[in-house]
Symmetry: D2
Subunit: 302 residues, 4 copies
């Protein structure tokens, strides 16, 4: 149960089968640095490239294809006092005839006040002078190596994870990922200080982080990412259109309710029909993300 402090020196724009940066044991914790979505580190020096440069990959001993890697998100601490966003809404979330303006290349800067627990636009437009959303750190992009030698751009997502931009990938959540290669090869980065549903301006408040995560290898097989918070369990689907992401997530939840909670499909359907919640992750990138979520109060683990 060691804790490793890893200082990355190179970053990856694909999640694939690269040489591990560190080998750790099942149960170990890693504390490491991540740079922002455009490659700026804690000193705002450009040390990586877009999109979403990843720290990693971490080789978790004992993880084999067909296993599941459980990743507990222990802590996400912003490592600098500024973040940035784009300002216009993404093309993907507006009616085509209502796009307000063309995407500017300039960014808006946010001041991150860890003590106050808020972020503020440095130059707020009219009406947002007092706007200070709470810091709610989350990991935008993370995952394990996909199957068959694939290497997937960190701008997108698939069943191995990737750029899902889902708010519940936050401290206190444990995420399960399907392992396809020995050691799992885990990558992470693209931390957000805050983000609404959908990442609809194409970014959260992008900044560098110190991230702490703990790994556990489960000898079981899953198809899509799953997660657990203090209150909920959720399954995640990544695809386009949103309809298909929702199908993947719902199907994975149906399987989960059968495997761990003893619910046959008819029982699971009755339960889900009355208490399911859907959350929208990324609706900006090539694959969209939907989470199918159920409060644990409705469930009894068998």
């Amino acid at each position: 149960m060691a804790t490793h402090r890893f200082h990355p020196t190179r970053y990856f724009n694909v999640i694939g089968t690269a040489e591990p940066c560190l080998r750790i044991a099942d149960g170990d914790t890693v504390v490491t640095d991540t740079i922002d979505a455009s490659g700026l580190d804690a000193r705002e020096v450009a040390v990586g490239d877009r999109p979403n440069p990843m720290t990693g990959p971490f080789f978790v001993e004992g993880a084999e294809p067909g296993d599941t890697l459980a990743v507990r998100i222990d802590r996400l601490t912003p490592s600098r006092a500024t973040g940035w966003t784009y300002s216009p809404l993404a093309f993907t979330v507006l009616d085509p005839d209502a796009i307000p303006d063309r995407p500017p290349t300039e960014r808006a800067v946010w001041d991150i006040d860890v003590k106050a627990g808020t972020a503020r636009l440095r130059e707020p437009p009219k009406g947002l002078e007092a706007f200070a959303p709470p810091l709610q750190p989350m990991i935008g992009c993370f995952g394990v190596a996909p199957a068959r030698g694939q290497a997937l751009l960190t701008a997108t997502s698939a069943n191995n994870g990737g750029n899902m931009d889902y708010r519940l990938f936050a401290p206190g959540t444990t995420v399960w990922l399907p392992v396809s290669v020995p050691g799992a090869l885990f990558y992470l980065g693209d931390g957000h200080a805050c983000q609404g549903d959908g990442e609809i301006v194409g970014t959260g408040i992008e900044t560098s982080f110190e991230m702490e995560v703990t790994f556990r290898v489960l000898k079981r097989t899953i198809t899509w990412p799953r997660g657990e918070t203090a209150e909920d369990i959720f399954a995640v689907g990544n695809a386009r259109p949103l309809d298909q992401a929702l199908q993947h997530a719902t199907t994975e939840m149906l399987r989960w309710l059968g495997e761990d909670y003893g619910l046959e499909p008819r029982a699971a359907s009755h339960l889900m029909g009355q208490v399911v919640r859907y959350d929208v992750g990324n609706v900006f990138d090539p694959a969209y993300t939907v989470a199918c979520r159920i409060a644990k109060r409705w469930l009894t683990e068998r």
Copy 2:
């Protein structure tokens, strides 16, 4: 500010330009009965046909094309002690290769205990013996006459409302609908005692209701339904795929933030980017429903 008690004797399966069942004044309240999605009334007698037989239409004096009809949902009281659902998950929410069984025609019966505030499956499958979701009454289908003489099936939805199956169409919410004909011609029905997101078994807990709603005519123009609860405002889009429903909802919210909260598109985008929430309504019927929601704590009405 009269209150009218209306007892329907006929029901409608399209939302169109039918002869009004009652004429009321701006500001009036209506208390009326609705039958369930399959046409069963409070005594479980079949008095209407599928899909979603509607009570109405109510003619609201003073409502003209281009206006907005505000409908406050005052009270939704189940008028019988049983409801029903389908049991399997809908084809639309599962991966095609994971559909667990073919849709049976039989229904599951739920006992509705208004005093306890819960519903229970009369014959619960294994694992759901103790499952008693709380009563959270909502209106599944309601709307005003669409433009140009259209008559739209109550199985679907459009910018005039319809079968949206969104949980926040519940007591305490005020809904705005775009008026296309004199008097607005408001219909309602398809009450649910409870329902998860998406109406993913093809039903909520379907039962008959006594519904109380209060109307107000606003001399302003909107494009898609809008709503307000104690905590949130939301805009609703109806379309397929979900992506397009989300675009309609987001675009309507962007307009709203400009009209009522003084936010230019750039400011509105910054706000929405950090605090927006998306909710999924119906993902079962021809048009799907997405709500774009923002907490009022972030807004200052101008």
Copy 3:
């Protein structure tokens, strides 16, 4: 087998259950006038409104719900020497970041030369001075009354037909439509002198026509429109996204191959897998259109 010459005096923007303009017998032919998509008649006088004002409805005696109305398109003759189009590509067919310009309200005028069999832009932009596509008249929008009292805007389409904008709805084609009301109630209009796949500028070359069609009532039931040309049979699906339109069309073709050509699903699948063709109709309006087409040379009617 009478031929009726009908001169319309009113036009419809919904396909629904209006009072018939003419009652005809099974086997009869109708020759009638249609106005263009914006309501201009043969003299370019505005006598109807957008979208797609329809001539009709024609009541075909003997047609009952559950039957099929066969409509043979005998002749489509432009009734004036000009047509019009919009010029920019529709938002729906371009990447959001590549939309070249905002849709102008001005129209481009085309001269229709029936003798030469071509159309020409009156004021061609640079590079199109010699561009003279052949006249290939087709019916953009037609259909029968939908079920249950629905009235559907002529801007969209459904299983009863509507604004499908498919090139093979042309002289020589016989179209089958599912009958939902006594007399079928057939409407037609929105003639195009020419049109590429998809109606991707939002119009074909829109003009007024004299149209001749012959009706026959078939005592059989279909779900989606079907058609037959000299060389092909095709089934049509209308929905969004295109994927779903394609599913409807393919499913209807599968049924058809079973009903009329004695092919069990496995045989039909083998045949379709090697020889099917997909054509794209409207990709501009709320519902898109896909045709699933098979050459008759591969089929033996049983």
Copy 4:
């Protein structure tokens, strides 16, 4: 202008940045063997794995990122006398409630008669005893290395090509692909003896081939694959849903008409609006394929 005869000994299931199997000069021709989609070679020995094992990659000297690789398909000769297909229609092309049966794992065998120019099911189901579709060889899957170190599964497609399953990727066609790495790194395989639109049974008639292709490096930049036949030019988009594939293809065609044919967007739109054709490639795999096609008779190269 050398001709190289290459005998592959290993095959790839991702299109990425592997070690070249052969280096050739700009203008050279390659004659090589491809194995079928499941890995069977000319002797029906399994030498590769699913999905779609690729021959390659070929390094074309002079090709640099930002260039375009032109690939002329000279000849596709089946190298054995049998092929295979799946029999049921894919889930993706049928209405969910109309799926005729669950996908069997057994395959149907076709006899390929090169002399007669036809294929025949070895055990035809009732009604297909005489069914002998013509051999129309095509390449199902081919492409160049994608950008940024991506490695994409040969079950899908993207802007670098991949599993597009489009009938016009056939002898006589020249395909253009956007180069992202030095040498382009071209892969090919998954030959079909015949295939309808959409690859709707999940396969064409899958068999091994001897393929002959000739490469040329163009010092110009494209975004999506383009192609030219004796009669047409076409641009290809790969995405889900079909709507987005169509948008990519249409946008690429719009660019092409500007670059090579001197047509400003307004002129290009007028031309495309009247003469464009859309073809459907793969509608089975994660990304679907649409081609936007225009007959060369309408175009004057500048």
